[in-house]
Symmetry: C2
Subunit: 239 residues, 2 copies
């Protein structure tokens, strides 16, 4: 079922009330509605079915280009081609993105956050024709939901909060924090079907492996350089 | 006026319903309530008065340490000491942070986002005793507001949204997008008191300069290496 364009734009306008550094609004959104557009994006997100299946795909872009362009036409020397500026733009963009998700769900829409956006940023940059000083950092698929799934588990908030300084947990405290997660039937099932002995191994050996993370780190740093946010290539790590 | 600790913890628990990569919850929060703690943080935020003046200061931490520690005690080889993993943790943390701000304001609290957290991360790391695989990415001051300020301006949402591919604006389009901002009396005043000819120059020459951005980029990359998220120092840029 279609999602009205005016509704999406209205939600994005309200979302732009999020905090933004110096009110520079260092973000853009590319709205993908055509079948061709979704087909270009789908493989970059490992063909997860929501990309082609959702009414709208929104790619959230950390964007220092618009502001830099304004400086360029205003006789001002913009110095935003560096890593701190990328970090500031990514921050602005994520606050805006989460605001949008909250507003969308409040309006009855369903959203799915695709973390795969930074796995192959060069592909997304090419597909969406993203110029220098822009970088894709998040993708949200949006549609009218036809299910109402149960909430997933979360750690007790005491595992997250530290009073005054960081409390480095003991081994026993860590085991206690994750005990509930490990006890869930669906997680025991994951361990079994993957032939592992612990749930953590499902993460380290199957879902988020060192080899993949290191290769994708290199790709992301190269893409940051390509887009003008890193002046020099980072030294090649010796894995 | 004090802000009840149970209220803050309850809001943080609800905020943790934000999307999180693989349900890894890659974030922590350090809650600063003591005068000594606020005094340690204040200079790191350029002595902006809200740090000492707010009831509570929350520093949001991109955190792969807790998850890595769980892997360590679970016979699993955690491969999260790399840049992609920092990016994932920063993303998780920002979604959680914005959710908290929305919930806090809904509860009648006032919040202020301090972007200065990444300006001197090494100082924050030392003040809060942040261990390897953690990194401070945002600071929120929280209190009961005694004022209700007017909303600041935002660009028209059409400047933010791109259909199907990125639309690289023309000079005229850029001028038109920023015309309203430039027309505001407070912004004309900024131009005048700073002795500039355009509003953009107030940003590039006074507020967010190339020199500061480049120095802080180096400091942030060094801090990322120190905390274990970059394996090798980035090549030194030749400014």
């Amino acid at each position: 079922m279609d999602v009205d364009k005016a509704l999406i734009h209205s939600l994005l306008a309200t979302a732009s009330r999020a905090a933004t550094m110096g009110n520079m609004q260092l973000y853009s959104v590319v709205e993908t509605r055509t079948a061709e557009g979704k087909e270009r994006l789908a493989p970059l997100h490992f063909n997860q079915p929501m990309v082609k299946g959702a009414a709208v795909v929104l790619t959230f872009i950390a964007d220092f280009r618009r502001f830099t362009h304004w400086c360029d036409v205003s006789d001002a020397d913009a110095g935003y081609d560096n890593f701190l500026s990328f970090t500031n733009a990514m921050t602005d963009c994520m606050l805006f993105c989460q605001n949008f998700c909250t507003l969308a769900e409040e309006a009855g829409l369903g959203t799915c956050f695709l973390g795969t956006t930074v796995y192959n940023p060069k592909g997304v940059i090419e597909a969406l024709q993203l110029p220098r000083l822009t970088f894709p950092v998040a993708t949200i698929t949006v549609g009218w939901p036809d299910e109402d799934p149960a909430q997933t588990d979360r750690l007790d908030i005491s595992a997250i909060i530290h009073e005054e300084t960081y409390h480095d947990a003991s081994d026993e405290e860590i085991k206690s924090m994750f005990a509930y997660k490990e006890s869930l039937p669906e997680n025991k099932h994951f361990v079994e079907v993957n032939g592992k002995t612990t749930l953590a191994q499902v993460f380290t050996d199957c879902r988020y492996t060192r080899k993949d993370n290191e290769a994708m780190s290199d790709g992301m740093l190269e893409a940051l350089q390509q887009q003008g946010f890193l002046q020099c290539p980072p030294s090649t790590p010796t894995h």
